[in-house]
């Protein structure tokens, strides 16, 4: 039985434990059908031309968490943003860990999707938002929707500023063999509200884990949402991250994606602008080697006038690693005065690394400013000589320059603790020491 068949046959058992009369049931069933029809994506599809998940699908994944696993905080503390006060929603092998979490219902809701799906209190929000921006005909999204059960539920009411960042952390252990995890997150920021979110997937020992995550983010008028994703997992962990952002007028949403490790990572990041004077920011730093594969597939749908989008993705690739960047910008005929900027700069550290980069602009309005640029290069020779002439050995000099190349993406990171953390991760990854200033 292949994975697709296994998933379809498991669905009944999955549904039976749940409330069959809820509208969610209908949504799940419809989505399973979608998945059944489309199946997993293959390289024959344009959107998956450079990324194959065929090998990953051969593993015999367990689909449901079998039991609760506990881990001690001291063993995993380093994966958190531990030096600042935060809310935390933590999962271990897909199961909520109340011990590691710190949720709230005080003014805002930071809690579990499983609770939001079953309690009356959340019904209106769930019905209004859940699965309304996620792409219905995307097979992996549909698969996630069919098995929607657990994840993070975040609701920030009108004019409320969440005073602490929220961490969503997924740990996986090797207790249950190969594992398929499908978290489903919903983030709703009402008018004039603000929230900052930090997300991380981390296996604690190297094992086969495939995460197919879907996150829907809704930013109402004037809302500000900043989302930071750290993808620095162990060598056998793979992640397909499907993030959908719906923005209303004058809202600002930024998503930063830091991809430093894992076997295969695919980020499907989609922004839909549904109002005027919206700002959408998508930034990423990818630093990989050792046959790793990271694919950024972005979409910005400029559907209304006077909006902006800013994309800046930097990639550093070594040692048989493969990078993909596909950035689609769609400007509707009525979306006049759109400013859409896209940059994708890459450095290949050796001859064995590959980058496939493809800007895709579809512009139907005539009064717009759109720019895109992609570069693939090596390190600047003059700069390298400059550093070496100061006595810094070639390897270290290359590390410093690579660090400098990636580093400026961090300028837009608003939480200093995240900036420091990412800085250190980059420096570590590149083998340079950029410790604190004297």
């Amino acid at each position: 039985m292949d994975l697709k068949e296994k998933l379809i046959s498991s669905f009944m058992a999955f549904e039976e434990q749940l409330d069959l009369s809820s509208p969610i049931h209908e949504m799940r069933t419809r989505s399973l059908k979608q998945f059944e029809e489309i199946g997993f994506p293959t390289k024959k599809e344009e959107a998956w031309k450079y990324t194959s998940i065929a090998k990953l699908l051969k593993n015999d994944y367990s689909i449901f968490p079998k039991k609760e696993t506990t881990i001690e905080l001291k063993n995993v503390k380093k994966y958190f943003l531990y030096d600042i006060d935060t809310y935390k929603i933590v999962f271990i092998d897909g199961v909520y860990s109340p011990f590691l979490s710190d949720t709230t219902h005080d003014g805002i809701d930071v809690c579990l999707m499983s609770a939001a799906l079953t309690r009356d209190k959340y019904k209106s929000i769930i019905e209004k938002y859940l699965n309304t921006i996620a792409k219905q005909d995307d097979s992996l999204t549909a698969l996630n929707t069919a098995f929607t059960k657990e994840g993070a539920y975040i609701f920030i009411p009108k004019s409320v500023v969440a005073e602490k960042p929220i961490q969503i952390i997924h740990f996986s252990t090797s207790e249950q063999g190969p594992m398929l995890l499908q978290p489903r997150n919903l983030i709703v920021a009402e008018e004039n509200s603000q929230v900052q979110i930090f997300e991380r997937h981390q296996s604690l020992v190297s094992h086969q884990v495939l995460t197919n995550s879907v996150t829907e983010i809704f930013a109402a008028e004037n809302a500000i949402v900043d989302y930071y994703k750290v993808q620095n997992d162990l060598e056998e962990a793979s992640l397909i991250d499907n993030t959908y952002v719906s923005q209303k007028g004058k809202s600002h949403v930024s998503v930063h994606t830091f991809s430093f490790g894992g076997k295969l990572i695919r980020n499907n990041l989609n922004f839909y602008q549904k109002g005027e004077y919206i700002d959408s920011t998508m930034k990423g730093i990818t630093i990989i080697g050792d046959k790793q594969h990271v694919d950024h597939y972005t979409l910005v749908d400029h559907a209304q006038p006077n909006c902006e989008s800013h994309q800046d993705y930097k990639g550093i690739y070594a040692d048989k690693s493969v990078g993909v960047f596909n950035g689609k910008i769609y400007v509707n005929q009525i979306a006049q005065k759109t400013n859409a900027f896209q940059k994708n700069n890459n450095i290949l550290l050796d001859d064995t690394a590959t980058i496939n980069t493809k800007p895709q602009l579809e512009i139907f309005a005539d009064d717009v400013k759109c720019s895109h640029g992609c570069t693939i290069g090596q390190l600047d020779k003059d700069a390298l000589f400059y550093l070496r002439s100061r006595g810094i050995p070639k390897k270290e000099a290359k590390g410093l320059l690579t660090y400098a190349f990636a580093n400026n993406v961090l300028e837009s990171v608003k939480i200093p603790a995240i900036k420091t953390r990412i800085n250190k991760l980059i420096a570590n990854k590149l083998g340079v020491s950029v410790g604190h200033d004297l």
Binding site: L387, G391, E396, D437, L438
Partner: protein, 249 residues
């Protein structure tokens, strides 16, 4: 200190240096002047070990050791310093971090441990004061958004920190206003000792009013065509380079 013997060097197959001979002793300041394209910057790059240039022939000997086969970092460890005409911008790496990295790399090459943080801090403060550099400046990204004067001051600050045996200042006066020029020259003069040597590469005589050379060499078409004392610099300033060209041709 430095002996350059019949040095021939080329870039992309084009011969730029066509037999340079130069002898620099400890405690001396040498100025190398010459019109644009005469090979001044090439000479400095070749001595510092820039791999873009091919040394076809000749020797570069520092304190009895031939440097020709050494890479740039090794030459730096042996005491060669080049102040760049166009220092490179490195965003995200502060001046302090950069200089710490450079100093500890040299110490490591000499089998020494990292400089203790306290000593490093003291050293940085002293040398920054010498170049009239503000402490805020030190936490800025290296050369990023620096004015011409700030870049050159930063170069001499690095020289002060690294304490080279042989410092080559490539067009250090370009892009400097008179105040910055004085600060830079004052810094260089204070760093001068009987044990080190300085080569000043310049197109104009202006800098030599402040860093007074013991010897002046005129480079033209890849060769030193005339050598003299500081008066030669004044002569060049008054008469231009044409008579030198004629003299050589």
């Amino acid at each position: 200190m430095l002996t350059v013997k019949d040095l021939h060097a080329s870039v992309e197959g084009k011969e730029i240096l066509k037999g340079i001979n130069l002898e620099v002793n400890p405690g001396e300041v040498h100025a190398i002047m010459g019109p644009n394209g005469s090979g001044k910057s090439t000479l400095s790059a070749v001595i510092a070990g820039n791999e873009d240039y091919e040394v076809e022939k000749g020797e570069i000997i520092l304190n009895g050791e031939d440097l020709s086969e050494d890479d740039a970092e090794t030459r730096a460890h042996k005491g060669v310093f080049l102040s760049f005409q166009y220092p490179v911008e490195i965003p995200g790496v502060t001046v302090t971090n950069f200089i710490k990295t450079a100093i500890n790399a040299s110490r490591k090459a000499q089998g020494l441990d990292d400089m203790p943080a306290k000593d490093m801090l003291k050293n940085i403060r002293e040398k920054a004061a010498l170049l009239e550099i503000d402490s805020k400046f030190l936490s800025r990204s290296l050369n990023e958004g620096f004015s011409g004067g700030e870049k050159k001051r930063n170069e001499i600050f690095q020289m002060a920190m690294l304490e080279p045996k042989l410092a080559i200042l490539d067009e250090t006066d370009s892009g400097l206003d008179i105040d910055a020029l004085k600060i830079v020259a004052n810094g260089v003069n204070k760093l001068k000792s009987k044990d080190n040597a300085v080569i000043v590469i310049t197109h104009y005589q202006r800098l030599l009013d402040y860093i007074v050379p013991d010897f002046v060499h005129v480079l033209h078409n890849g060769k030193i065509v005339k050598s003299g004392t500081k008066e030669l610099a004044h002569e060049l300033e008054a008469k231009g380079y044409d008579w030198i060209k004629q003299l050589a041709d």
